[in-house]
Subunit: 329 residues, 2 copies
DNA sequence: CTGTTAGCGCATTCAG
DNA sequence: CTGAATGCGCTAACAG
């Protein structure tokens, strides 16, 4: 193991000088010494020990990212954006996956805090449970008290910098667009009632329907994933002409089940989702949805956290009407 | 910032004792002192400083994972498996994305090495370029010389523990199955010629066709992603009755372009992919493909690396025939 | 079982 | 511009 001291000795300079040239110090070092140190480092194959550096500096260059599920393309996209932004500022990203278990999320904050990461990012919906939110907040407070930065992508419930997708408004706009196609009898595949992202999308959609004078939609709860959409179809009211799944992955599950049952989308039934997941754009029929700039949301969150800003940035969704939803005859 | 020393003082014990109870030491500590230390730690809100621990121990508990692209569901699945295995052994995962740039891959090995991660995992195809492979090997050798473990998911070209999907054999088996449906005129959407995973799948497929006495397939090179499949269709020979895309994501692109051109799959043309990406299973028509246990591959790689074994584990693919490929009339 | 002590590798005062 | 010295928080001998 080659240390800075080895390099210094080899270059015939002091430890301090070697440190100054090899690691980004503000201090200047004379041309001659600088060359000597660089040469010695190269010859010896010196590699900074980041752990030692972190300890000495009291600050690391890694940021922690906590997601619900990396296999869900929603989180993969956010993670990708976050990693790009982090890399741009010379940071590495440490990832934790909660598999939607709030306690695991809290545990990760604690672990990342022990790692002394510079910032932690919490991506994904909050849960409607004051006890859990409270515990998470306490954990975050401790982390921040020790100098850490926090940002979240989702609801502004944690008192930290937040990139907040306009779920309600997006869903409302989608409802408007769908109603504009002539639909009046809707179903909402609403996901789990306690997941705030799901609840907001559901609420925004239903509220707009009411404002439009349409009858209240059939509401079917279930998991927030592909199977949630798939199984929800079982209990679908046959009078419904348009189904809104609160995310694209659920919509895909719904489409699969509908196909199995011989229901032709959009001829017999219109379907829409939310998120506009890129990997799913080649589905048949192409999904009507609300586009969210996921990668950008991840990047923004990293930038906020690293800048130490505690802003709440709203992010608008854009309604995208594709073949899966069509004008009601 | 509460340190171990603060805890020790508060508990009225020595630093060493506090260390022994709070961090997993083999040494035993008496019941009384143990309680006192735990109480003090809780009251003070003590949190281990992992950087200091890493420095003192000379070993960290994080593992590095280098992938080509986290948004590609292939890598997301591998990463997921790797993270599960890592979590099981109490490790965190630091992720780097190369965006398919080999130099970035080398740079990440170097960065992770500076982080003193316990192991690094390289996921994704190697490139057919001895110069690049050489530089990567040298970097890995340096890392291993400093005590790091390495494992890869892909080709066994690095002299490290490897989980190696049987790309050739899988593609050959697929060729057999497709030929069994009566097809003889094939096209291979072969991806980039220098990507070994792509080349192996192509080679295995073509070799089996030859063995079966079928004419050589049309070969169309292009990017290894959705657009690679999409654009490849432009130059498709109209006499071809079955298209093999060397991965599922390319197959999706091909299906999209075919649909636009009014070609009905599988009535007019059969299509198959490789990987069996879960997110893509609800495609229409369902894709014939070769299933790879991606998450398991990621887990195995982590286990190998952490165990310090330098084995090469072959992983077989399983042919899955679905609607996108059908019997030739 | 418990305490003392000497580093781990590096950044950073403070002198010169 | 350069060097000597101190400490970051923790672990692991070593002693008792």
């Amino acid at each position: 193991m080659i240390t800075l001291e080895d390099v210094a000795r080899r270059a015939g300079v002091s430890l301090a000088t070697a440190s100054r040239v090899l690691n980004g110090s503000t201090r200047q070092v004379g041309e001659t010494m600088r060359r000597r140190v660089e040469a010695a480092a190269a010859e010896l194959g010196y590699r900074t020990n980041v752990a030692a550096q972190t300890l000495a500096r009291g600050a690391s260059n890694v940021i922690g990212l906590v997601v619900h599920d990396l296999v869900d393309p929603y989180f993969a996209a956010i993670a990708d954006g976050a990693m790009r932004a982090a890399a741009e500022q010379g940071h590495m990203v440490m990832v934790g996956t909660t598999y939607r278990d709030p306690d695991r999320e809290i545990a990760y904050v604690s672990t990342l805090s022990a790692q002394r990461v510079r910032a932690v990012l919490l991506a994904g919906s909050r849960v409607d449970d004051p006890a859990i939110t409270g515990r998470l907040r306490r954990e975050l407070d401790r982390y921040r008290a020790s100098g850490g930065q926090v940002a979240s992508v989702g609801q502004d419930l944690l008192g930290v910098a937040t990139v907040a997708p306009a779920n309600r408004e997006g869903a409302a706009a989608l409802a408007r667009a769908l109603a504009g196609l002539g639909h009046r009898r809707f179903a909402v595949l609403a996901g789990p009632a306690h997941l705030i992202t799901a609840a907001d999308r559901h609420a925004g959609f239903a509220a707009e329907l009411a404002a439009l004078g349409a009858p209240p939609p059939q509401v079917i709860h279930g998991p927030f994933d592909r199977n949630g959409g798939y199984t929800a179809i079982e209990t679908l009211d046959p009078r419904v002409t348009c189904v809104f799944a609160v995310n694209d992955v659920m919509a895909v599950g719904a489409l699969a089940r509908l196909r199995e049952r011989g229901v032709v989308v959009p001829d017999d039934l219109s379907v829409a989702g939310f998120d506009d997941i890129a990997t799913l754009r080649d589905l048949t029929p192409p999904l009507s949805t609300v586009r969210l700039p996921l990668a950008e949301m991840g990047s923004r969150a990293v930038e906020l956290a690293l800048a130490g800003e505690s802003a709440v940035i709203p992010v608008a969704g854009e309604v995208v009407l594709r073949e899966s939803a069509r004008k009601l005859r």
